[in-house]
Amino acid sequence: MSAVDHYLNAFEAEAAGLPGRGQPWLDGIRDAGIERFAEVGFPTPRNEQWKYTRVAAIEKRRFGLPAAATPVTARQLEPFLFSGLACDRLVFVNGRYASALSSISEGEVRMESLAAVLKNEPALVEQHLAHYGDMKRNAFTALNAAFMLDGAYVHLPRNVAAERPVHLLFVSTEDGGEFAAHTRNLIVAEEGSSGKVIESYVALGDGGYLTNNATEVVLGANSELEHYKLQEESLKAFHIAALDVHQDRDSRFTSHAVSFGALLGRQDINAVLDAEGAVCNLYGLYVADGRQHVDFHTTVEHAKPHGTSREFYKGIIGGRARGVFNGRVHVHQDAQKTDSQQSNKNLLLSHHAEVDAKPELEIYADDVKCSHGATVGQLDDNMLFYLRSRGIDKEAARGLLTYGFAQDIIDHMSLAAVRDHLEGILVRRVPAAESVAGIL
C-alpha cells in the first residue's frame, strides 16, 4: 500500500470519530485536506520548498493513532516546566488533551482543548480555524487539516492583558508506538489584547513518532503576542510544524522558535502583515548534531504600508547534522515604508556538518528599507586564543564560545524562566558541556 493510500484508508476509518465531525464547515476543511493530500502526497526534493529536506523516512512509516500508553504523571513532567514561572498550563499526551495534568486559572482569557471546542461549541472557532495555514502550499498542513485531533484554543478578549503566560505542553511517550499526532492550535488575540503563549514539544523516552502540528495565530488591531516554540522532541522522532500568523493593524507579534530535538525537524513560519503598522519579530535558534536534520522556512509577507519586521536566526550544527534556513521576505507593491531586517548566522562545529542558508528578498514597493545577510562559519580563532591565553582549555573555550554564540537569541525573550530553562538545555549541547556548566 502506498503512503497516500495508508492515510486515505485511515481517514475513511477514523473520520467519523474525529472531533466536530458532522459540522459542515469543519467537514469541508477535513475533506479538502485529505483531498489535497491525496493529490500531492508527501513533498519530494523537486518541490523547491523541500529541496534540502527529504521526508522519505516519514513516507516509509505507517503512522497511526497512538497505542494506549501508560498514564503520564505530573512528576514526569517536572523537567519540562519553567521553574519559577506562574502560568496556566494545558498538557497534551500523544496529541490528546490531558485535563488531569493541566491547570487553568479563572480569568478572562479563555483556554481549552480544541477537541472539546469542536465538539461542544464549534461556532467559536469557525471564523478562524484553518483559514490561515495554506494547505495548497504545504502537504503536511493539508494532512493536519484532515486529521486534526486536538490542541489548544486560546482566546484573548478585547483589551485584555493576560496576567499569566499560557504554556501548551505536548508530551509524547515511547510506549505510544509509531503514532502521528496531528495537533492544531488556534490563538486569537482580539483588538487591544496582549499575552504570551509558550508551546513546547517534549518526549518521555525515545519514541519514533511523528508530530505534525499546525498553529494559527490571529492578531487583532493593536494587539500583542509573544509566542515561544520550544522543540525538544525525542532524537528518533519527526517534528513537522507550521505556524501561520495573521496580523491586523498596529499589531505586534514576536516569535521565539528554538529547536533542539527530533531526528528530522521542519518548522514553517508564515506571517502576513495584512494591515498598516504591524510589527513582526522572528527570533530563532536551532541546534543539531549527530545525524539530526533541522529546517526552518520562514516567510514574512509585508502586504500593507508601514510594516516592520526583524528576523534573527542562529544555527549551531555539529556532527553529521544538517541545518536549513530559508527566510523569505515579500514586500508587496502596496507595502510602502516597510522596514525589514533579516539575519541568519550559522556555526559549524564539525567538518561533516552542513548548512544551507538562503535569504529570499522580493520587493515590489519602491520606498522601503530592507536588509538581509547570512553567514556560515566556524568558531573564531582570535576568540579561542583569547580564552585559552587566560588558562581556559581548548574544548571548554569552544563550548563557551558556542554558548555565547546562541546567547543573544535567548536574550530577546522576555520571560526569564524560559531563558533559564533554555540556557540549561543549551549548555548540555555545547562542546565540553560539563566544563562549561562549571564555568556558568
Binding site: 582570535n382 586564543f385 580564552l387 581556559i392 581548548k394 573555550a397 564560545l401 546567547q407
Partner: protein, 251 residues
C-alpha cells in the same frame, strides 16, 4: 626564568623571526622595540602559545620547562600572561564567568581551592581600583562595547587578577591618550615585583617614560640587533631607528 635561544619562526612558510636569543630574569622589565613588521608581535604570540606559527629551530625554556611543548592554556596556568594589542570582543560570554574561570584555572593548577562567587567579587573590586574600572563591566560580555582605552585597562586588570610570573605586554600603549596611558602604566608599575618579569613590546618610546625598563632590545627583520639599558630607548627616540639599522648593516 625565560631563555630564548636562536629562535626561528615562520608563518605560512615565510620566516618572521630569524634567530632571537634573549634571557629574562625574574624581577626584570624588558622592552622590545622596533619598526613595524620587525616581528615584535610574533614574538609575544609565540611566547603565549598561539597556533599558526611554525618554530623552525631554536628553543624557549620557561622556568626550566620546554615552553614550546606546552599548550596556550597550560602556559597561562603556569604563570604566563599576554596583554593583547587588540583585545578580542566575545559577544555572549559574560566577563565575570570568563574571569572567574580564568582565575580558578590557575588556582586549580597550583593546587589551591577555587574561589567562590563572593571571594571572587571581592578580589575583582580590589584589582579594579588599580586601573580605575567600574564593576558594571563584570555584567557585560568580554570586551564588547568597551572603548579602546577600556579594553587596554581591562587587559591590565586581568593581569592583576591572574598575577602572572611572566607578563607580556603587546603594544599596550598604542592608541592610548596620555591620561589612559598613565592609568595603564601606573597599573603595570603597581604590579612590578621582584618575582615577576615583564616583557613589553612597543613601537613607541613614550611608554618607557612611564614604565622604566631595565633592558631595551631593538628588533629588526626578526633579529635583535641591539640591546642596552634605558638610554638606548632615549637614543632611539632622538635619532629614530635609522642609525641602528645602518650600524647593523655595516657590521
Amino acid at each position: 626564568m625565560l631563555e630564548i635561544r636562536d629562535l626561528h619562526v615562520s608563518v605560512e612558510g615565510k620566516p618572521i623571526l630569524n634567530g632571537i636569543t634573549m634571557d629574562v630574569k625574574k624581577g626584570e622589565v624588558h622592552a622590545i622595540m622596533g619598526p613595524n613588521g620587525s616581528g615584535k608581535s610574533t614574538l609575544s604570540h609565540v611566547l603565549a602559545g598561539r597556533e599558526g606559527y611554525e618554530v623552525t629551530s631554536g628553543t624557549i625554556t620557561y622556568e626550566g620547562k620546554d615552553l614550546l611543548e606546552m599548550e596556550a592554556e597550560e602556559r597561562a596556568r603556569d604563570g604566563i600572561f599576554l596583554a593583547f594589542q587588540y583585545p578580542v570582543e566575545i559577544p555572549g560570554v559574560n566577563n565575570s564567568y570568563f574571569l572567574k574561570a580564568a582565575v580558578n584555572a590557575g588556582r586549580t593548577h597550583r593546587g589551591e581551592e577555587e574561589l567562590d562567587a563572593v571571594a571572587f567579587m571581592k578580589l575583582v573590586r580590589e584589582k579594579m581600583k588599580l586601573v580605575d574600572l567600574k564593576d558594571d563591566l563584570m555584567k557585560r560580555a568580554v570586551n564588547e562595547g568597551f572603548s579602546g582605552g577600556e579594553k587596554k585597562r581591562n587587559e591590565i586588570f586581568q593581569m592583576a587578577l591572574l598575577e602572572p610570573r611572566l607578563a607580556l605586554l603587546d603594544e599596550t600603549d598604542s592608541g592610548l591618550d596620555i591620561d589612559a596611558l598613565k592609568i595603564v602604566a601606573d597599573g603595570v608599575n603597581a604590579l612590578r615585583t621582584d618575582e615577576r618579569a615583564i616583557v613589553m613590546v612597543t613601537h613607541y618610546q613614550r611608554l618607557l617614560n612611564y614604565i622604566v625598563p631595565d633592558h631595551v632590545h631593538v628588533l629588526a627583520a626578526g633579529r635583535i640587533i641591539k640591546s642596552g639599558d634605558r638610554s638606548l630607548a632615549l637614543e632611539l627616540e632622538e635619532r629614530g631607528y635609522g642609525w641602528v639599522l645602518e650600524q647593523e648593516a655595516a657590521a
